[in-house]
Structure formats: structure tokens, C-alpha cells
């Protein structure tokens, strides 16, 4: 049984539909991506999963059981915006939040120290949050969401506002959580993070799930329409090959848009006649392209 199962949840605010029938399941040890433009309904969906608001219809099951206070204590939540007491010591507030989630003070203290060591910042134990940099506050926030070793973690824009080093650090930690069996519901605008972390995704657009499934299957639905060509010398006449829509010159070669995958072969042949080839690849669409295509098209 999957730890988190969301079935056909609807949410209406007045006459505006915020979430229109989303279903998904997050397996043990899986990171599930929830994508969508601003206002697409990601946060509302997450709030319903967190039990902050109740769906008008549909059900959410945690380890096969419906919503209850006990179940909610087993959730971890990393909010989009930083939520910590600026003037309270790190140790005090993390232990407070852990206690509210049903941990004993001693266990919370031990876990906190372990996590601080893990991030290489044991000296923050006695510092106030306002004294820390934004990236380090984010580490503390992260600790707050996982200190009670939750089986289900909800992360809203987990890596926003972090430098690349810290992104890698937290990304590594998220992967470890996944490998230790935690189910993670993950929302972000950064498509490269999704490609790296998520197995399954849902793309929301204007409250509706428009694209859903495993990342690989989704990518296969979209045609390969981009050819990367790297050559020793200049290649002429690429534009006149049948099926070519657009040619962009880059520093080390060409990026060619084609209308169907079969148009790639004549391009390679043309190039081979003229010069040596370093690189030839028919690119699979990036999630970024898929996202813009899916969401962008429906804007009209």
C-alpha cells in the first residue's frame, strides 16, 4: 500500500475552482513532482494533503488510513516561505516544533544535533535564526521538517533562494531520505531538479491536472524535434533540407529544429558530405520544453 494516496480531490473557493480533481499516489521511497505555473493549484493541493484545509470532495489516504491528527503528526512540511521565529534560538524552536509533533525533548535534541553535524553547522545550535544567512536558515527549516523522521514529507519549493553548493547539499539529503524509504511530495519551478529527482509527475494548469505519469513515459509522448550538430567546419544548406524549421548557429555547431524525427537523417547525410562530425544527437525534449508547451499552449 502506498504511503500517500490522493483520490479525485476537488476544492472550490467561492465560485472559483482551486483544484479540479487531482489523483496521484506516492510510493515508498519516491519523490513525486507537482509542477505548475503560479496559481495553478499546487499550494492548495499541498495544503489539503497537510490537512490544513479539507477537500470539498475526494479522499486522501495516509498509509491506507484517512486523515487524523495522529497521521498528520507523521508528516513533514517544508513551506515555500521560510517559517521560523527570527528571535528564538535554533535549538529552542526546533525542539519546540518537534515536541508539537509528538517527540520527546531528549529525542528531538539528539536528532537536532545529528542533523546540524550532518550539515556541518553544529555551532548554530545556540544561535538565533535572525543571525543566520538565508541559505543557512533554509538548512534549519529543512531540519525542522524532517527532525521527527516523518514517513511522508511535503516540500514546497525546497531549494529556492539557495546557492549552487547548498542546492547540491540539500538535494543529496533529499535523495538520501528517498533511499531510506521516505515518500516525498515535491513542488518546484526548477525543471532540472524534477528531471533529476522525480520518477512521476503531475503538471497542473489552471486547477486541472493536464499531464500526469512517469517522467519517461511523458517524454516519449513528445516528439524529438531538436537536433544538436557539432562539426569541424561550416555546413551550408541546412535550411533547405526538407523538414527543417529553424537553424540556430552556436559556438561549436548548430541547433536545428525539425518537424518530425525522420528529418534528422538527411541532415546527418548533408553534414557528412561536407565535413567531419564531432557530435550528432537527436535530443529528447526537456521537461522545460514540455512544460512550456503544455502550459503555454493552453494559455491561448
Amino acid at each position: 500500500m502506498n504511503p500517500l494516496k490522493v483520490e479525485q480531490i476537488f476544492k472550490q473557493y467561492g465560485d472559483k475552482t482551486a483544484v479540479n480533481g487531482i489523483s496521484f499516489e506516492v510510493a515508498e521511497g519516491e519523490i513525486y513532482g507537482l509542477l505548475g505555473a503560479n496559481g495553478a493549484g499546487k499550494t492548495t493541493t499541498m495544503r489539503m494533503v497537510l490537512g490544513l484545509i479539507y477537500p470539498d470532495s475526494g479522499q486522501i489516504h495516509y498509509h491506507g488510513k484517512p486523515y487524523s491528527v495522529k497521521q498528520l503528526q507523521g508528516l513533514g512540511y517544508l513551506p515555500e516561505e521560510r517559517g521560523l521565529y527570527p528571535k528564538v534560538k535554533v535549538s529552542e524552536q526546533i525542539i519546540y516544533l518537534a515536541q508539537l509533533r509528538g517527540m520527546s525533548k531528549k529525542d528531538a535534541d539528539r536528532n537536532l544535533k545529528r542533523w546540524l553535524d550532518r550539515f556541518g553547522v553544529p555551532e548554530y545550535y545556540n544561535q538565533k535564526v535572525e543571525e543566520l544567512s538565508k541559505g543557512n536558515q533554509q538548512k534549519i527549516q529543512f531540519i525542522a521538517s524532517v527532525i521527527h523522521s516523518p514517513k511522508i514529507v511535503i516540500m514546497d519549493e525546497a531549494f529556492s533562494g539557495l546557492d549552487p553548493v547548498n542546492v547540491e547539499l540539500l538535494k543529496g539529503t533529499v535523495k538520501e531520505l528517498r533511499d531510506s524509504g521516505t515518500s516525498i511530495l515535491f513542488s518546484t519551478h526548477r525543471m532540472e531538479h524534477v528531471e533529476e529527482l522525480c520518477r512521476n509527475i503531475t503538471i497542473l494548469h489552471r486547477s486541472n491536472p493536464v499531464l500526469q505519469g512517469s517522467l519517461r513515459a511523458i517524454k516519449q509522448q513528445f516528439p524529438r524535434e531538436r537536433v544538436m550538430l557539432g562539426t569541424a567546419n561550416e555546413v551550408t544548406g541546412l535550411e533547405s533540407v526538407e523538414g527543417v524549421l529553424n537553424v540556430k548557429r552556436h559556438e561549436n555547431g548548430y541547433e536545428i529544429l525539425i518537424n518530425q524525427e525522420s528529418a534528422s537523417r538527411p541532415i546527418l547525410e548533408l553534414a557528412m558530405q561536407q565535413t567531419n562530425i564531432h557530435r550528432f544527437e537527436v535530443m529528447e525534449p526537456t521537461l522545460n520544453e514540455i512544460f512550456i508547451k503544455t502550459v503555454g499552449e493552453r494559455h491561448e
Binding site: 476544492k11 472550490q12 473557493y13 467561492g14 495544503r47 497537510l50 490537512g51 490544513l52 484545509i53 479539507y54 491528527v69 498528520l72 503528526q73 508528516l75 512540511y77 513551506p79 516561505e81 521560510r82 517559517g83 521560523l84 521565529y85 527570527p86 528564538v88 529552542e92 524552536q93 519546540y96 516544533l97 515536541q99 508539537l100 509533533r101 509528538g102 525542522a144 521538517s145
Partner: protein, 445 residues
């Protein structure tokens, strides 16, 4: 009541006690209270050095003008002089200045006496315009020297009586009888066996003491409710604006977090009030304060325990009623800057209750205004305390007031919890009532 409620209470209390602002305000208010209580003593220390009698000049006429009879200028002057001399600690002393013979010369001589600092001022007699008794003019360089004129008035009144009596030929006993003061004392009684502190009747000093006590209780009540209420609202807004709220309400039910905070703040406020009361009692018990305070009819032993118990009950009820309202308002506002404006209606209501009692209630505790106010939940903590302290409301009135308060607390708590539940997740501009109602429906709280 389970562990997370107490966790919230503990966290709230710990953070407040540790905050510097809290310690400093408590200390400052404690200091002001101490100074206030010691003020009569301090004043008495300063004024005691000022006991020396002021010298007042007058012209000592050489010859007795017999035509002037009983109210002759020279006779009045000498009687006045001996009136002051007879007193144990006279505040004035008459200094005779030699008669120069002419009015201008006398005036000049008196002015010179002031210049030479021999006298502070002088008196001149002119024939009475209405009565045969001479009119008196007191001249000095000071503006409105009322202390001297009042003293002179009393003295001259006595001198006049004396002069008349001497000529009337009545006996010594009759004189004593005539001059002795009539004794009127006041005792406040009750006819209805009410709940107030009147009991077996109150003497004037007890009444004065109760008046003072009610005054102090009113101010403490107002301060405790307003300060802690504002603190609750600003804490909640701060949690909201720092977004800790999102994490908090995924961990603990909004009801528990709200009431945990209110109760925690209550403990903080109660501690503060107890500290103030302790300081009041301590300062009043200091030996040097005993005399100046009892001169003002302030005695610890006169404090009415019944009044204190009722004051505590109404403090509790008033606190929880206002605290839930403050919490609800705090949860609606997203930024601390907007809080002041948002709590204004509550502040105004509280102020209205306070002022009704301060200006309408202390002097006239049984007016219709007070009777009505003491039944309206938001005003009753102030109004009923005043009535209990100063008059004698019937038992049923007190209990109706308390029960209405409890109902109001329940209703306000219920509504506030719902507003809180919906409000803490609403960001952006302050929501209108309609938006709030919509949100409350959406959150199905």
C-alpha cells in the same frame, strides 16, 4: 488538555520571560509604583523644612484711637498677633513696623521692610465698607499667595468672633459650646444585604480606602487586559508574518495553539500583576511610609478581602474575553505594521469601559449607566468591580454579570477560534468581513 497545549503554553511563557522588553517594562512600572507610594513621604520630607513662620509686617500705631471701639485697627492687629503666637506651629508671624505718621511714609517703610527681607509681605487695614470690622489688604511681591490669605482669613475670622464675644458678656462655658465644632461622620450602610463590600457598614476612612483601592484595581485591570491583549495579538501576527504559523498549524490544532498562547500570556500577565501588587504591599509596609499614608487614610488593614476576590474573578473573566478577541484580530492581520489599526476597535471598547467607570462610576456607582454597564460583558469587568467596591449591588446582579461574561467568553472563544483558523492562512491585505466569512466556510472549521 494534552501535552501539545502545555508545550505551547511553556514556549510562550519562556519566550516572554526571556525577552528584554518584558523585563524592562515590568521594572519601569514597578519603579513608578514605588515612587507613587513613597510620594507622600518624600513630599513630607521636603515640606518639613519649610515650617518656619512667614513674617508679615503691619504698622503699629502709637496711640490707641478709642473712637474705633471694639474693632480698632491697633486692637485687631494685636489680637491677630497673639492669635498666631498662641499656636504651636504658627505659619505666620506678625512683625510691627514703627508708625511714621503719614500714610505715604508708612507705605514706604513697609516696602523697605520687604526689600530688607525682614517681612514677606504686609497687611493694611482700611475701614470696613460693609461691616464695622475693618477690611484687610495683604500686599506681597508674590503671585496669588493663597496660603497666606487663607491663613489670614481663618485668623481674622477667629479674631472677629473673639472680639464680638468679649463685648457680649457671655459665660466661658457658653463660649466653649459656641466655638466647638459640630461632629458629623459618615457611615455607608446596606439595606439589601447585597454582594458588595459594605457589609456591617463602612466608616469614612474605609470608604476612602475602598475608593482608592477601586481606583488602583481599575488601572491594574485596564493595564493587564490591554497590555497582555496587545501582546497576544502581536505575537500571533508575528508568527503569521514570519510564516512559522504554517508549520505550527500543521503540527498542532489551531484551537490548541490559540488557547495555549492565551493561557501562556495569562500566566505572564498574572505574574506581572502579582509583582506589582507585591511591590505595592511591600512599599506600603515600609515603616517610614506608615505615617504619611495613614494621614491620607490609606491603611493595608482596611482593604476589603471580598473586593479583592471579586476583582480577581472579574480580572480573569475580562482577560479571557478580551484575549480571545485580540487573538482573532491578530490572526487576520498579516503584517505587524497593520496591527495597531486593526486592534483599534477593541482598544476603544476597553477604553470606553474604563472611562465610564473612571468618570461616571467612581463618584456615582449606582447610576443607571453603571448598572447597565455592569451587565454588558465587555464593560462589566470594570463596571462591576467599581460597583462592588463602592456600592452594594444585589447578589443576582453580580451573578448575572458573571454568567453573561462566561457566555460571552464562550461565544467569543468559539468565533475567535474560527476566525483564527481561517485567518492564519490568509495573507495579503486585511480581508473584508465577506472574504473572512468565505474563508471560514472554505476551511470548514
Amino acid at each position: 488538555m494534552n501535552s501539545s497545549f502545555w508545550t505551547v503554553v511553556g514556549f510562550t511563557v519562556k519566550n516572554k520571560f526571556r525577552g528584554k522588553a518584558f523585563l524592562i517594562t515590568t521594572l519601569i512600572i514597578a519603579l513608578i509604583i514605588s515612587i507613587g507610594i513613597n510620594l507622600p513621604y518624600i513630599i513630607s520630607q521636603f515640606t518639613s523644612g519649610d515650617d518656619e513662620a512667614k513674617s508679615i509686617g503691619y504698622i503699629a500705631h502709637q496711640q490707641q484711637d478709642t473712637d474705633e471701639g471694639a474693632f480698632g485697627e491697633a486692637r485687631i492687629a494685636s489680637m491677630l498677633s497673639s492669635y498666631y503666637e498662641a499656636q504651636e506651629t504658627p505659619d505666620l508671624k506678625l512683625v510691627p513696623i514703627a508708625d511714621t505718621g503719614s500714610a505715604e511714609g508708612n507705605e514706604e517703610a513697609l516696602k523697605q521692610a520687604i526689600e530688607a527681607e525682614a517681612v514677606k509681605g504686609y497687611i493694611q487695614f482700611t475701614p470696613g465698607t460693609v461691616l464695622p470690622f475693618p477690611d484687610v489688604v495683604y500686599k506681597s511681591e508674590k503671585l496669588m499667595d493663597t496660603n497666606v490669605t487663607r491663613s489670614l482669613e481663618t485668623a481674622l475670622q477667629a479674631v472677629k468672633t473673639e472680639a464680638v464675644l468679649q463685648n457680649s458678656g457671655i459665660s466661658q462655658e457658653q463660649r466653649t459650646l459656641l466655638l466647638s465644632e459640630v461632629n458629623v461622620s459618615t457611615v455607608q450602610i446596606t439595606t439589601s444585604e447585597g454582594a458588595g463590600s459594605v457589609g456591617q457598614g463602612k466608616s469614612a476612612s474605609e470608604q476612602a480606602m475602598d475608593m482608592g483601592l477601586v481606583y488602583v484595581i481599575l488601572i491594574l485591570l485596564f493595564m493587564a487586559i490591554m497590555i497582555t491583549g496587545q501582546l497576544i495579538a502581536s505575537e500571533i501576527t508575528a508568527e503569521k508574518s514570519s510564516r512559522v504559523m504554517e508549520i505550527l498549524i500543521t503540527s498542532v490544532s489551531p484551537l490548541k495553539s490559540m488557547f495555549g498562547k492565551i493561557f501562556g500570556m495569562f500566566l505572564v500577565g498574572l505574574t506581572q500583576v502579582l509583582v506589582y501588587v507585591g511591590i505595592i504591599v511591600l512599599n506600603m509596609a515600609l515603616p517610614h511610609n506608615a505615617e504619611p499614608l495613614s494621614d491620607l487614610n490609606i491603611r493595608l488593614a482596611d482593604i476589603n478581602p471580598v473586593l479583592l476576590v471579586y476583582a480577581l474573578v472579574f480580572y480573569l473573566a475580562g482577560y479571557f474575553l478580551f484575549a480571545t478577541l485580540f487573538a482573532a484580530v491578530g490572526s487576520i492581520v498579516s503584517r505587524t505594521e497593520d496591527l495597531g489599526q486593526a486592534v483599534l476597535p477593541i482598544t476603544m471598547i476597553s477604553l470606553a469601559g474604563f472611562y465610564i467607570c473612571m468618570f461616571g462610576g467612581l463618584s456615582n456607582p449606582d447610576s443607571m449607566l453603571m448598572k447597565v454597564a455592569s451587565l454588558i460583558p465587555l464593560f462589566s469587568p470594570y463596571a462591576m468591580t467599581v460597583r462592588l467596591g463602592l456600592s452594594d449591588p444585589a447578589m443576582w446582579e453580580v451573578w448575572t454579570s458573571i454568567i453573561l461574561l462566561l457566555i460571552a467568553i464562550y461565544v467569543a472563544g468559539w468565533i475567535s477560534a474560527r476566525i483564527y483558523r481561517a485567518g492564519v492562512l490568509m495573507y495579503g491585505k486585511r480581508p473584508s468581513l465577506k472574504e473572512l466569512r468565505k474563508a471560514m466556510k472554505a476551511y470548514k472549521v
